[in-house]
Amino acid sequence: MNTLATRWLADWIEGLGNLFLLTLEVFRSIFSQKVAWGDVIRQAYFIGIKSQSVVLITGAFTGMVLCAQTYFQFHKVMMDTATLAVVSVSMCSELGPVLTALMVAGRVGAAIAAELGTMKVTEQIDALRTLATHPVDYLAVPRVLAGVCVMPILTLQSIAIGIAAAYLLAVHYLGIDRTYVLANMQHYTERIDVYMGLIKAVVFGAILSIIGCYKGMSCGQGAEGVGKATTEAVVYASITILISNFFLTLTLNKVFDVG
């Protein structure tokens, strides 16, 4: 039992170390090698355009369910018009970036791991290396840059559609006064909430793409290896996003001196 635990811990630490080294190599490559912007745009299209439906549906329904739940509680204490303010602040600083990142991690993180994992098991990554090409330059850098650039845009979309959907629900279904609900929302939502959401989105974009690349490039042999890498990419990216969100919230609140 002890041996198993020791081995698991050693593997975990080794994995963490390798992930850290890959991250370093990615940043070193971005600043020291020529970036293939054509590949970045292709990846941005894949991550951004192809994730539209997932992000918009998630944003809209999250905004609406948050609006409904908030209204049911606030209505008891006659605070109906504060409903949209709660939705707006939550969507900007927490739910927008986190849920968008989780959805994109499920779609894009898995796809990156599966694609690179398949390349690994069919020796295409070895072929790249023999063609004097560093796999990090060619495979990881465009995906990480695309993830970092596209995630804030997706997050903004998710926030906007979430608030819009919540507004429609609040005004047209729940019957809250539109003037007061909008005034409260504008009063309580600050620019810093949006900045915090965007900063988180950049970090989450880096996390999900780097973990997807790492899992793909280090995947085991055969179809089983690719399947395992894909699953692990989603699970590890999601967990890392949730954990880092907590620390980011604490840090950003300190930095922006909120509360």
Binding site: Q124, D126, A127, R129, T130, A132, H134
Partner: protein
């Protein structure tokens, strides 16, 4: 030109290479034979730095690969062209994009020059007109030819072939052998071929190295190897299995 010194490599508890040493001279055509899973491809991957040895070293043109990082290895790898066992073509790219990959990335040639070079190598491997095809549309033999075209377009000094005829019918295997000889003559490059196809080995080798139990068991000309009375060599080249190993069939 290439020197392998006392190379050892294990995967987990399985020791694959147990002190492999040999040299390959410039322009020489060497074939490494040995049983499946015996470590032939592992040697090939060490020659180009795709694997790191547990101990021992590989020296290419006086430069040891030991301790070089991935970016330093890129410069050394530019001297090599590699044909992989599975051809390892990039499946999202067309034949033309696969073959021109390195030239496009280096950006030293104009698109017209690259196109002309692709046309030339495709003609050399007898696959003219396949530029726009995807790897999935090609047969096994055609994929190997495209893999070879990709490996030689930038005229490497050393070409490595990993099981070039495995999984191909005898006619296609023969055409790949002819192609390897043609490439050797045209580019005047050093060739190292890993195979267990004895007909192919006899045809393309100037010297044959036999890998047995993790070591180089024999190094000789094809005629010497094929006429050898050494029981290990004789059994291997003539495809005679050990009686003890076949008992499970009875």
């Amino acid at each position: 030109m290439i020197e392998v010194r006392n190379l050892r490599k294990s995967f987990g508890s399985h020791q694959v290479l147990e002190g492999v040493s040999f040299q390959v001279a410039k322009g020489e055509s060497v074939v490494i034979i040995g049983s499946s899973g015996g470590g032939k491809s592992v040697i090939l991957k060490h020659l180009i730095g795709l694997l790191n040895p547990d101990s021992g070293e590989v020296v290419v043109e006086g430069q040891s690969l030991t301790g070089l990082n991935e970016r330093q290895l890129i410069k050394v790898r530019r001297k090599f062209g590699v044909l992989f066992q599975s051809a390892a073509l990039f499946d999202s790219m067309t034949v033309e994009e696969n073959i021109s990959f390195l030239l496009v990335r280096e950006g030293k040639n104009s698109p017209q020059e690259i196109q002309e070079k692709v046309r030339e190598v495709l003609e050399m491997v007898e696959l003219s007109g396949t530029e726009a095809k995807k790897p999935a549309e090609l047969s096994g033999g055609m994929r190997k030819r495209v893999g070879l075209a990709r490996a030689i377009i930038y005229q490497p000094e050393i070409v490595l072939y990993d099981e070039p005829t495995t999984g191909l019918d005898p006619i296609v295997s023969d055409s790949i052998d002819q192609l390897m000889l043609r490439v050797c003559r045209r580019l005047k490059c050093t060739s190292i071929v890993v195979t267990h196809d004895m007909r192919s080995a006899r045809r393309v080798a100037e010297r044959i190295l036999m890998l047995h139990q993790g070591k180089i068991y024999a190094s000789a000309t094809p005629d010497e190897i094929f006429s050898s009375q050494d029981p290990v060599i004789h059994r291997f080249v003539n495809g005679i299995s050990d009686v003890k190993e076949t008992q499970f069939l009875i």
